[in-house]
Each structure stands twice: as C-alpha cells, then as structure tokens.
C-alpha cells in the first residue's frame, strides 16, 4: 500500500451568487497516494475544475468558501494563510492548465516563467536556476531547450507550450501535480505524447497526479483510480479496471457508453439527454442524476443518496444503479420525434 499524499475529506466549496452560497463541490472525499494517478471525470459543470482550484486554493477568496479538510503531509491546507499556502503552491504541488497559450504570460520568456517557480522556492543562484530550467525543458522533451529558454509562448506550438507548462508544474519536484484537462486543447496525436510524458515523469518521480478530464479514453490509458463526479458530488469511485469492467452508477455507464468506438456496430453514438443542473438551481435532496434518466422509476432512487461500498474500494452513490437499464435506441428516437412535434 502506498503512502497517502493528499487526503480530501468532506470538501465542500461554495460560490457566492447574489449573496447566497451554492456548493459546486459538494462533500467530496478521496485520497491520492504516492505514485498514483487519480482521474476525476465528469461532464463540464460537474465541479471538477472547482475541485482542482480548491485544492490549490486559487479561488477568489471573496466569493468562495471551502469547508472540510484537505490534508497534505499532516497539515490541513484550508487552515493555512496566504503566505503559508504560497509555500505549498508551486513547491509541494504543481498545476497544469488546460489551455497552454492563455495560461502562459505572453510577455515573459519560457525560461523566466519556469525560473519564477525556482525564485520563490529555492536558494539557487541565477546560473544554477538557468541550468535547472534547461534541464527541465530537456526532461519534458523539448528538442532545443537552450533556444526555447529564450522564446516567448507565442513562438511555440501547442504541444511545446504544454510541455513548458508541465516543466513549470514540476520545477520544484512537487509531491503532487494537478492536471486540469491537460490534453483538451491539443491535437489527438499530441495528446498521446503529453499523456506519455506525464506518465513517464510520474514513474520516475513517484509523485501523485490528479488528472482532471472528461475524456475517458485518456483515463483508460494512464489512470490508476477513477473518481466520477456529477453535479458536484462523487457518484462512483474505484480502480480503473473495476470501473471499466463493472461500471454501476447510471452516470458512469452512460459516460462509458458515450465513448465513440471504431469497432462498434452501433451507428448512433449514445447521448446522455439533458444537461448538468446549474449549481444555483439544482435540487440538493435526492439523486441528482434522476432527471436525466426519467424512465427509471422514482422508487429506485434513495431519498438521501449515500455512497455504498459494492466491491473492494468500489463505491457507488444511490441505489438506482440496481434498476438501471439503457433505453432501447428506438425508444429514444420516438421520444425525439414526439418532442419535436
């Protein structure tokens, strides 16, 4: 059993909208171990990024409040002040963002942006920092690190920028890296390279990675464990093997069913009808997914859905999974037609 790096317990992050707080991350608990990639999956608006920013505490303090505990190396990050937190950010935890062009400062050279991390967390001299930075650029597979050191973000391709972004995140050898949709803005061919790179760095440094994504093919490729989020809640967690072989929650099953497949005989791609409810409007009691599976009888859902242990380290929220079935394709079609009339 690996050592736990980060233990999130009952984390609730709420945003203030017109003087009322609404939870975007609702009572989330999970653990990230050393040398482990935990994937957090879900559609847009499920609270994945809100969760990532809560861990780093990068939310606007005036409009957000976080409750629960985020335990990192025996300290609760939520009780740290800004100065203490700045010692954790960048040094202990690195973050990779989705869009590497906007996430890099257009007026600073790549080298300086990586070095900035070293500026605040190490006592290295200028030359040492430069050497380290060039080493990092080499490590992330940038072909001409000396040249890239002096280049600006706009001079690099998307993949190269994301590599530079990764070297910023790992500059101080953090124990944990949070990658928020690191491949979403990239070409498919580049996506694979970036994932390989992450996996490679992880296997060498033994760090933990939280990989936030909506792309399940990415998850299958690199992750060890999966946390499926829906409407701010964890609806299912388990090992990758378990989730892919034995998905239980209707949402997880729908997500897996929505992966386009080259070999599939289906000619229509599965679509989850409806959208994720907005945090200000949703009903916080009852199963949050029930509106999107209306053909499942109401009594199948729990009144206050809990996480149930269904296997080794496999948890599912609500009891509706027991009675869940996919609508036959024809049904969905007639449904569409009647609606359009």
């Amino acid at each position: 059993m690996n050592k736990a790096i980060l233990q999130i317990e009952n984390l609730t992050t709420s945003f203030r909208i017109r003087n009322k707080y609404h939870a975007a991350v609702d009572d989330v608990s999970f653990t990230v171990n050393e040398n482990e990639i935990v994937a957090v999956v879900g559609e847009s608006g499920c609270g994945k990024s809100a969760l990532a920013l809560s861990i780093m505490q990068l939310h606007n303090k005036q409009r957000t409040k976080s409750e629960g505990t985020i335990k990192y190396k025996d300290q609760n990050l939520l009780t740290l002040n800004e100065t203490q937190m700045n010692k954790v950010r960048g040094k202990e935890m690195g973050m990779i963002f989705q869009e590497p062009l906007t996430a890099l400062n257009p007026l600073m050279t790549i080298g300086k942006q990586i070095e900035e991390n070293l500026d605040y967390h190490t006592d290295l001299s200028g030359d040492e920092k430069k050497k380290r930075t060039i080493g990092l650029l080499t490590q992330v597979g940038i072909p001409y690190p000396e040249r890239t050191y002096k280049q600006y973000p706009h001079e690099l391709s998307g993949g190269m920028r994301q590599r530079a972004m990764i070297s910023i995140a790992i500059a101080c050898n953090p124990a944990l890296v949070i990658a928020d949709e690191p491949t979403t803005a990239l070409d498919v061919t580049i996506q694979a390279q970036i994932l390989d790179l992450l996996k490679d760095i992880q296997s060498r440094t033994k760090m933990g990675i939280i990989l936030i994504t909506h792309d399940l093919s990415v998850v299958a490729e690199v992750a060890d464990r999966i946390v499926v989020m829906y409407a701010g809640q964890v609806v299912e967690t388990g090992s990758v093997k378990e989730i892919f072989n034995n998905p239980l929650h209707p949402y997880t099953r729908s997500l897996l069913n929505s992966i386009p497949s080259a070999t599939s005989e289906k000619n229509r791609l599965h679509v989850i009808e409806g959208i994720v409810p907005s945090i200000a409007k949703m009903d916080r009691v009852g199963c949050r997914f029930q509106d999107r599976i209306p053909w499942i009888p109401k009594h199948a859902h729990e009144e206050r859905p809990q996480l149930h242990e269904v296997g080794k380290e496999h948890f599912v929220r609500c009891t509706c999974y027991k009675e869940f079935y996919f609508q036959a394709e024809g049904d969905a079609l007639t449904h569409d037609i009647t609606q359009s009339r």
Binding site: M56, L58, E82, T83, M85, N86, K87, V88, R89, G90, K91, G94, M95, F97, E99, T102, A103, L104, N105, P106, L107, M108, Q113, E116, N117, Y120, H121, Y152, H154, M165, I168, A169, A171
Partner: protein, 321 residues
Amino acid sequence: MWKFILRRLLVMIPQLFLLSIIVFMMAKAMPGDALSGQEINPRANPAELDRIREELGLNDPWYQQYLRWASNAVQGDFGISYTHKTPVMDVIEDRLWNTVFLALVTLIFTYMLAIPLGILSGRYNDTWVDKTVTGYSYVGFGTPIFIFALIMLFIFGFALDWFPSGGSVDSKVDEGTFAYVVSKINHLILPALSTALIATTSTIQYLRNEIIDNKIKDFVRTARSKGVPESKVYSRHILRNSFLPIAAFLGYEITGLIGGAVIIETIFSYPGLGQLFLSSVSLRDFSVVTAIVMMTGFATLLGTLLSDIILSAVDPRIRIE
C-alpha cells in the same frame, strides 16, 4: 527594425505631399488674403495693393503658387510671415519649443496621476478607493477644459497668485541663467496641470479596465499556482500586461498634446504653436498657417511611428522586421 523605420519614413512622403495640397488649397480657399486688411485703410492705395499682390504672386493660379511654395518648403523655407515680417521658421521655432515643453510636462503630470490612480482603482476595484477615483474620472470626462482651465487660472494664478497667469517666461530674467529655467518651469506648471487633470481621466480608466481584465486571465492563475506572492503577481504579471496599450498610446498622446494645445495656450496666453496658429488664421497669415499644419501633420505621422516602435519594444508578439 531600421528597415521598417526607413520604410515608414519613405511612406510619409506621399502622405505629406497629399496633406500639403489639401492644406494649401484650403488656405487659398479662405476669403481674403494677407493684404485684405489693408483695403479699409484710407491711407492705402488700392493700386499699390494690387501691385504688391502681383509682385508676391498672389494673382497667379493656385498650382503655380503651390509649386513655388512646395519647392521652398522642401528646403525648409516656408516663406516670410506677412504679419511678423520675419521668416516663418523663425516665428515658429520659439513657439514650437514652448509647445513641446508644455506637452512634455503635461505628459509627465498625466502619467504621474494616471499610473498610481489607475493601479489603485484596478487592483481594488469596486471598493471605496475605486469609486472615488472613478467618480473623479467621470467629473473629469464631463468638465470642459476651457472652463476648468479658467477656474484654475482664477484660483492659482489670480486669487492665490501662486503661479504667473500668462506668458512662457519672466521678461526680467536673462536667458541661460538658472532663474530663467525656474521661471520657464513656473510658467508651465499651471497650464500643464490643468490639461493633465482632465486628460488623465481617460488614461486612468483605460489602465483600470486593463488591470481588471488582466487579473482574471489564465496566466495570472498560473503565476499564483507557482506560489508567487500577490504583490509580485501584480508587478510581474498583471501590470506589465496592462501597460501595453498605454505604452502604445504614448506616441499618439504626444502628438495630440502638440496639436491640441490651442485652447490651453490661448487661456493662459502661453506663446506656443496653438496660440500662434489661432492668431495667424485670423490675420490671414497663410504662410504661418500652412507651415504649422504641415508640422503638426508630420508630428502625427511621427507619433504613430513612435507608437509602433514602442509597442514592438514592449510586446514580444509584435516584432517589426
């Protein structure tokens, strides 16, 4: 870079040529000429006036006059001022420097006010600090410069008598002495401050909005994720990006101040280009008018070039080849 500047300077030639034709024709299209004022003078002989007109070439077709004027102008000779009886360049030179000094001091005041106020307002937006600064900006936007300058003149030049109320230098001090420089500056402060207090409001708002836009940008979040302290997030990331458009606007700002000093110079009876321009128009001193318009046009073109050069210097995404 040098190639670019050279190319831009070459492009200016046809632009200036076009401007000169328009300016010249407009000046000619104005009713009367430099001698019209003499027609009501009972002692002036109309036949004599006609003879002078003929001698000066004022009866020639416009293109002949234009060619004569243009070929001299290219050599830096804009002719002789009818009213001052001296070469136009001599008349303009002193005034030009006065206006340039006024513009520079105004610019310094403008940015001395705009940068700190804009930063405060943008960083602490929607607080009472921001509301006060924005309130001042709205009042500034709404106040006509000629009213405000008169109020300033009345309070500080007349009632309190802190600053001289007209001229560009005390006539009693000798040129080249330290007292002369002090007197020059003393005469500049009131007109420069009056313009700056009004002109700065747009720069304040511009900077404020840039900061508010930039502080929610992704790269700022990246900086925070590196553990960069808040003060450094501002100085290294937010402010540098927010200054870009302001820096780029500097060139235009300078030209605007040189060309637009007519009102302020008239109110403070400051002997600058604007005041000279206004008096030359009313006296039909066309040689001075055309020379000033040509110079302002040239300054505008230089200003845009300067803006481009500044922008390419501060923004690595814009490189001039």
